[in-house]
């Protein structure tokens, strides 16, 4: 069986691999690239543990072929943290104890990130619908929903702080210019 050579971008890095024609992206990520964040819960698109984004769209990597990633952009849970600094979603999942065994967590994190990018201030109902494709057998969904709500609040606060900071900087340079 001949392999397919694929060039793609994963979490911002150019990546190349060879995979079998029928091999799904989830297996490529886990078994060929050592990115074991995405998990296989069902393999049939029902549980969302394998969630990643493909060109910005949330998908189940168990239902995408590795070959389909050619020239596209894949983002996985591994790309969420900024170096050693966890993403607010990650810290809030920990803070709210929104995980137990952790199998579902990477999928929930990726799906929540997509939700908050699109809708920074979701209602509880919106969160529950957006995460309806992610199943958790341990934690119960309330804690997960609360973690997402807190993350939304924190991200909004961070954004206001950043804005204020930028504003101050702008004003400073203005007064400087005036003086000059």
């Amino acid at each position: 069986m001949s392999g397919i050579h694929v060039s793609t971008t994963i979490n911002g890095d150019a990546v190349e691999y060879v995979c079998r024609p029928g091999e799904v992206l989830l297996d490529v990520l886990r078994d060929r690239l050592g990115l074991t964040g995405a998990k296989e819960g069902c393999g049939t698109g029902d549980c969302g543990a394998c969630s990643v984004t493909l060109d910005g769209r949330l998908v189940c990597s168990c239902l995408v072929l590795g070959a389909e990633a050619e020239g596209r952009e894949v983002n996985t849970v591994e790309g969420l943290a900024d170096g050693n600094t966890l993403h607010p979603l990650q810290t809030n999942f920990i803070k709210h104890a929104a995980l137990q065994c952790g199998i579902c967590t990477p999928g929930f994190l990726v799906a929540s990130k997509v939700l908050l990018d699109r809708n920074p201030n979701p209602t509880e109902t919106e969160i529950r619908y957006a995460l309806a494709g992610n199943l958790c057998r341990c934690t119960g969904y309330d804690k997960i929903v609360r973690a997402v709500q807190s993350s939304a609040k924190q991200l909004a606060k961070d954004a206001t702080k950043m804005k204020a900071k930028a504003e101050r900087k702008k004003n400073k340079s203005k007064t400087k210019k005036k003086r000059a």
Partner: protein, 286 residues
């Protein structure tokens, strides 16, 4: 197995036509890859149609829409003009699966998978949508209801691919709606469903209607009697009762784990009544 990703419809048709063994068109893959994994089908060739630009876009000319066959559900939901013109078709397509599935699943796939419970099909038929099919002998256009011939079977011939689905310009004071019954809020397959498309005239009187049921027969069922009952009315209770009766009479469902014959028959009528009310309101009726 071979994986092919042609960039033109012509190449895709040639690949499909010449393929030896079992060749499958891969659009969103949310049905096909599951069936392959469960060993229900064995594919020798997969032809991915997501690299064909004309199949990847939604275009609108003079108010009519052309939806490429590898456009995913999420993208339809993001197209404001499409949502405004055909809210029922979009809500039907968007009911399929989770957000993850929406990022991949297509209406053309939903249609060609030929499940009697396909959500988008009753809405498409109610909207009088047409399907553009390309094959070795050229292009042909079919009304959506002529594509599925029974559970799992279609009228597509060897080498033929659905290139796009087109929706006519939506008329003034017209709207469509789709409703399905499932035992929970989300993430399930229709037990029965109804798509309604109607046009109202002066003082909110219905001028034209089309009622289509899903999951109550081997293929979707158009119910002209239900549409006739609506025309000339403002959807009063007596009319709605007639609509439900006509729908019940058109059902020939199966008994299975999702629902009994009696349940499906009765609830199909209820879905049709409720979908009609939603469409009526959307069209501006009070």
């Amino acid at each position: 197995m071979r994986y092919e990703a042609p960039t033109t419809t012509k190449d895709a048709v040639a690949l499909l036509h010449k393929a030896k063994g079992n060749a499958f068109v891969l659009a969103g893959g949310t049905d096909l890859l599951v069936r392959m994994k469960s060993d229900l089908v064995e594919a020798d060739v997969l032809i991915d149609i997501k690299r064909i630009p004309s199949m990847q876009t939604i275009t609108s000319t003079g108010g009519a829409f052309r939806i490429g066959s590898s456009v995913c559900g999420a993208e339809m939901g993001e197209n404001k003009a499409l949502v405004k013109a055909w809210p029922g078709v979009v809500e039907a397509a968007n009911l399929i699966g989770s957000d993850q599935i929406q990022g991949r699943c297509t209406m053309a796939g939903n249609l060609c998978n030929a499940s009697p419970a396909a959500d988008s099909v009753p809405a498409l038929v109610a909207a009088r949508a047409k399907v553009v099919i390309v094959g070795p002998k050229g292009r042909r256009t079919l009304p959506v209801e002529k594509v599925v011939t029974g559970p799992g079977t279609t009228s597509l011939k060897k080498g033929e691919i659905v290139e796009s689905i087109s929706l006519p310009k939506s008329q003034a004071k017209s709207a469509d709606a789709y409703l399905r019954f499932i035992p929970r809020t989300e993430m399930d397959i229709a037990v029965c469903s109804a798509g309604v498309n109607l046009t109202i005239g002066a003082r909110g009187v219905i001028k034209k209607a089309r009622v289509v049921l899903g999951a109550v027969a081997p293929t979707v069922v158009v119910v002209p009697a239900a549409a006739r009952a609506m025309v000339g009315s403002k959807l009063d209770e007596a009319t709605l009762a007639k609509v439900a009766k006509a729908c019940e009479a058109a059902c020939s469902p199966i008994d299975d784990k999702r629902g009994t014959i009696e349940f499906r028959t009765e609830v199909a009528g209820v879905m049709a009544k409720r979908a009609a009310k939603i469409a009526y309101q959307r069209a501006g009726g009070k």
